[in-house]
Point group: C2
Chain length 428, copies 2
Amino acid sequence: MSSPDRLHDGSITSPVGFSAGSASAGMHPDGAHDVALLLSETACSGAGVFTQNRIRAAPVVYDDALLAERPGRLRGIVMNSQIANACTGDEGGEAAAAMARAAETALGLPSRCMLVLSTGVIGTPIPIEDVSNAIRGATETMDPEGGIAAAKAIMTTDRTAKHVAVRVETPAGVVTVGGVAKGSTMIHPNMATMLGVITTDAAMDAARLSALLGQVADRTFNAITVDGDTSPNDSVIMLANGASEVSIARDAEAWKLFEAAVELVARDLALMIVRDGQGAHRLVEFTVNGAGTEAMARSIGRAIASSVLVKTGWAGGDSDWGSIFSAAGASGFAVEPDRLRLQVQVRADTGGPEGEWLLLAERGAGVQVDPLETRRIFSAPAVAFRLELGMGGGEATIWTCDLTEEYIRSNEGGHHAKGGRGARQGRH
Amino acid sequence: MSSPDRLHDGSITSPVGFSAGSASAGMHPDGAHDVALLLSETACSGAGVFTQNRIRAAPVVYDDALLAERPGRLRGIVMNSQIANACTGDEGGEAAAAMARAAETALGLPSRCMLVLSTGVIGTPIPIEDVSNAIRGATETMDPEGGIAAAKAIMTTDRTAKHVAVRVETPAGVVTVGGVAKGSTMIHPNMATMLGVITTDAAMDAARLSALLGQVADRTFNAITVDGDTSPNDSVIMLANGASEVSIARDAEAWKLFEAAVELVARDLALMIVRDGQGAHRLVEFTVNGAGTEAMARSIGRAIASSVLVKTGWAGGDSDWGSIFSAAGASGFAVEPDRLRLQVQVRADTGGPEGEWLLLAERGAGVQVDPLETRRIFSAPAVAFRLELGMGGGEATIWTCDLTEEYIRSNEGGHHAKGGRGARQGRH
């Protein structure tokens, strides 16, 4: 019995029975790998959480249907970066299906067992012949330690590959949970431009897996925001292949430990996405408590974490409680200004030592603060805020980042596959 | 009979019977005037439209109550910049009342006839003694051409004073409508950090005035957005003193012409605010049509015009239809991606000649576009988009601007009275 341990170089291939490979279809401007395959030796239970954007990319539509049709018969995922296959009409749906078929054929699998994930520029068709060739090439590189290569192949404007795995000893036996993700621009609650894949060798049915993933996503992937935008491609998929032969759901204690491990993997990936937010200098953990309900706390936290004015203030190392209170008031909820209380703290989880909570405002008004103290706190790479509403027992935490000039620079000219300013046009 | 003409150097004092003055209370760091008075020779009908932020600044609370209590007995407005008198507790309410009383006393007026408007930094108390002295000083400068001085005294981060007036010949007689405004950061629909004052010498009762102002504000002040934030101070107040002795409401044709004049004044002021958005290089008029309802069209337009990703794309002169479609999809409405159609055009109303509409995407997918043509369009200081949803007859227009590195620079360190980076602290 122990709390979960992070594995060195962990990823989606850390759980037993998973392998991954990657190749280049020539979509990446530098020739880097842009296609990846994840394969389980045996059939998996599968579950997905998808974008709330009304415009759903073709792979999202494909996966949603396949997970409903064969939730217990999945074998893996074919992924690509650089082209999102969103806003691509009927041809887009055909391209997603063709990618799945190409992977199934190349891997010698039955049809309708591979899921599809795409990320990149919107509105450009998938070069399906090149991608099919790359899928065939990727099958030659399948490796039980290939998860990190897959994490690299799904990067777009990401600066770092995002991967983690934990092993947890439970009364039912030892199980492993691993994951990879990509993020960067357009990261917002309710699934933003973000792909996440979580694997485990624990055994469980798809219904239970689906309930678990929904719950965990709400507290992790759906609790982050970079720029408030949401994309048509956001997806988190989880596969459980049971290769550990540990049936986790029969023992309450084992399930609890497993659940904590999945949440740890998901939160690690979500925070990697926030830290890597385009141009971000500072991770901000924002907790709202004393709300009427948890949902109200989360909505107010999201409103604050999406305020352009608040986020640019943070970029300058600002403790301006006024703009935070104002954003809370603009959230649409009946906050009581006279009850608001705001504190800030240096966070331990990305560097500097955890400090004391510093009171910035209470009873709706600012307090006298030592400028040296705020300067010290705001020079930390991670800070936490706690906003108390004084209305009830609802609490929620949102993770976000500051909004810097660098974000603007990298997005002038729109988001595009090149991860920089390649597609920029016109004057500035 | 004619369409309304803009007057040279028009403002709130262009209508008959209004005068204005200003003075310094020492709140402005450069010693510029930061207190202004608007006075009508006779009692006015008054109406107001106020912030939707749940946190309402003390002057908003004060005016809302006074307009309900004495809608036909108002004489003017006392205004200040640099300090918003928001999040200032009970003392804030007392300070707003004290400002009104100081103005009433200094002008020899009965009590409860002056409204109050404040804008500036949140959470700082009004230095009521200095402000009362400045109010007395301002009474010595009252001038029937003092409206522009008042417009200057309410500037915060504004780069230009905002004022306009139009005279309109109606079947009932000639009436004048004038206005001043201030804007800059935190400009969003539903009243953002924005003060607007409209005056007229037409005669009408307060109920009619209130209905008119609500309607006009929806199509003008509430149809603009700079950074998506809303402030506790946003207010638009309109005063009608009847000094022209033209009773506008008795004649349908006269009322129509008058209504158009008020809308012209309000739209001019609203567009001045957008053009002066912090760091903005480009005015964008965004029309959504083919929506189920006008409200749906407006909400989708606001969602697009508030997207950080879309707005930074515009800063780089980008025609990326993908991020616009994605923002429409993220608005929460059931848009049909396959029906979306997007066009762009150079706008005449701020410089360059009005051009042809250029099709960027239709049936949900991009079309081939000459890069030289998009470059030409996006080098214009004003562009218009037209997004057709293909669902119904609802249409609405939103005005906004691009989001540039300059915006970030001027807001690092938060919004504050100094209009620059004076209060910035900590590292970048």
